[in-house]
Symmetry: C2
Subunit: 376 residues, 2 copies
């Protein structure tokens, strides 16, 4: 029972805080002046400068190692975060400390799905920014120790044709997953209920790259009242993944692409049994008059297509058989404020105490290796 000592924990949702030279080192000569760059502000904080706008809130995005009493939303500087946030050598050392063997990192400045560049006024510049990030993650960050970093790339999703090319280009270089939108309609783009994204889904399926949809990748997370505390949004993060799951299961996507996978990052899993039961119950009653597939139960479609990720989720672990042990993945969320660094492995072991070893192995390692085609 429990987490075997020799299990190599793989976390499928961590975050790289891009260092200052990620784009400066890689952008074509004509865009040298437009490349995203770091500037230190008069108040001592660092900010990314891109197309005249400054963004630099690393705060909740780089708190590993801090006590919750120090958490906040204030912008910070690189000096005020662990080196492991942006330095791959230090990152691997931090992973050793928390007991995580390998991980997959989402972009920070670039946005969960590359959406920072979607807002660019210059499509060519935006595409070069995407390519530069992907080359950084493939050639620098993950290449440093390929057995310990799963390469997750972004696509210029605002241009379907260019996205297909970028999938093909990065897959050839070793990419293992594509970070994608959980709710494109929230950005005013065509929904999963259209054919718009089919070429991207087809390319991802053919390259065997699961789509990793981080909660919040389709616009702002949900809160309640305008004067309700930000805490409410944090507690309700999982609702974004709930909506994405039902939206996808009801859409034609998986019927058209039977080998396509969506990994819902940071949404938790403890709600999945409830929502699958509820969705099946609704399907039994409403499939006749609703314009949905009436042949296949949503919970059947869920299998092999949708995967849930958790940082800390005893309820999900206890219900692993209702979810499907093979549908559950672990995430550390380093260096974000959900992470338990440096106690990651210890706390995970506590949550897995009553789980048979073979199932624990799948959850912490085996599922990630299978889904992301990342052999030991």
């Amino acid at each position: 029972m429990g987490l075997p000592d020799d299990a190599k924990i793989i976390s499928v949702d961590d975050h790289v805080i891009e260092h200052a030279n990620v784009w400066l080192d890689r952008m074509p000569a004509k865009f040298k002046d437009e490349a995203p760059r770091i500037e230190r502000l008069p108040d001592g904080n660092d900010a990314w400068i891109f197309e005249g706008a400054a963004s630099g809130n690393f705060a909740l995005n780089a708190v590993a190692g801090k006590h919750p009493r120090e958490f906040g939303m204030d912008p910070r500087s690189y000096d005020d975060m662990r080196d492991g946030c942006h330095n791959i050598k230090s990152r691997l050392a931090d992973m050793d400390i928390e007991g995580v063997h390998a991980q997959m990192c989402f972009p920070n400045m670039g946005g969960f799905a590359g959406s920072t560049f979607w807002k660019s006024k210059d499509p060519e510049l935006a595409l070069e920014c995407v390519k530069a990030y992907n080359d950084f993650i493939l050639d620098e960050w993950c290449a440093f120790d390929p057995g310990r970093q799963i390469p997750l790339v972004m696509v210029p999703f605002w241009d379907v044709e260019a996205s297909v090319k970028e999938i093909e280009r990065t897959a050839a270089k070793g990419a293992k997953s594509v970070t994608f939108l959980e709710a494109p309609h929230k950005l005013g783009l065509p929904s999963f209920h259209t054919d718009h994204w089919d070429p991207i889904f087809k390319a991802a399926e053919e390259a065997d790259l699961p789509l990793s949809a981080h909660f919040g990748s389709g616009g702002v997370p949900l809160g309640t009242a305008p004067d309700g505390d930000m805490f409410i949004t944090i507690a309700l993060f999982g609702m974004n993944s709930m909506m994405a799951m039902v939206d996808l299961l009801v859409s034609p996507v998986f019927h058209k692409f039977p080998n396509l996978k969506f990994v819902l990052a940071e949404g938790g899993t403890g709600w999945m049994p409830y929502l699958l039961e509820r969705t099946d119950y609704s399907w039994e009653r409403h499939r006749y008059w609703c314009n949905i597939n009436a042949e296949q139960r949503p919970s059947e479609l869920f299998k092999d297509h949708i995967f849930g990720c958790f940082v800390s989720d005893q309820v999900g672990i206890d219900q692993r058989h209702q979810i499907g042990v093979e549908q559950i993945l672990f995430e550390s969320d380093y260096p974000h404020s959900d992470c338990n660094w440096p106690h990651t492995r210890k706390l995970l072991a506590e949550q897995l105490a009553d789980v048979p070893e073979d199932e624990a192995r799948l959850i912490v390692e085996g599922n990630a290796r299978r889904i992301f085609n990342f052999p030991a």
Copy 2:
């Protein structure tokens, strides 16, 4: 084990389809012409006429006894629904058929929380409509067989002072619960994070009337993409209750009113263990910098304040100890499309097959009697 044969099932979320004379029979003389009234349209459907507008979609609101193949969103007429929808004698007969002993009904034409009258241009007319409904539910619908109907009244929530008076007036006449908004901010009204509602909460607490917040009572339910099928909204109904739960637990409401109860109707319960764990986890990490109560864990506040209701929810029943057996209530949802009439008791018994008798009694009867002060 299982549902005892002598347990008297109490459903805490059903619906009365108001008959044509509910308001005509009761409105003051000066408003005789303005009282909501039914008119038969040229297409054979019935519509409520109120302040020049017609509303008459009974469809998914009155499908008890129909096969799901007949479900739809088309408007219907009174001729096309079971008599039990609007006739109390027939209703009790239908309850006998489904094996439900007592029930609590929400308004239909009036809106879950009386919101139909909130839109009125004439505050005096709106108040009289509310009072007429309450007199109907107290003096006619529930008085017919008081041991089998729990009186649920509405308040003119757009007028706090009048709401307090209506709580006092109806409590004196035997009201057992007030239907209230789950998310007043969605209607553009002050949120639970303000002091605005305090007099209403105080009056409800003093009269020992739990507030019954039906999902969707704070504006439209949540969907995903505009072109996503209505089915998505149906499957995601529970998210409204999730938001209400976290919103209330984070608000000052229960700290100010330690005996106030919120019953979240039709939201299910299977998600509660996940969301309580998630909310506590977030509270552990973010209570220092967020502007929330840092003394009491949200899951502790949940106890005795928030109650979940289910039609069919095996996941919730299986997790009843994580939720709290005393926090769970059953609902039949007659005559809406979630209901299992005439098989209500049979299907409930199947879901309770592995539950000890004493716990099953609480879930189907005891909790409702205690919470709504509705003794046998």
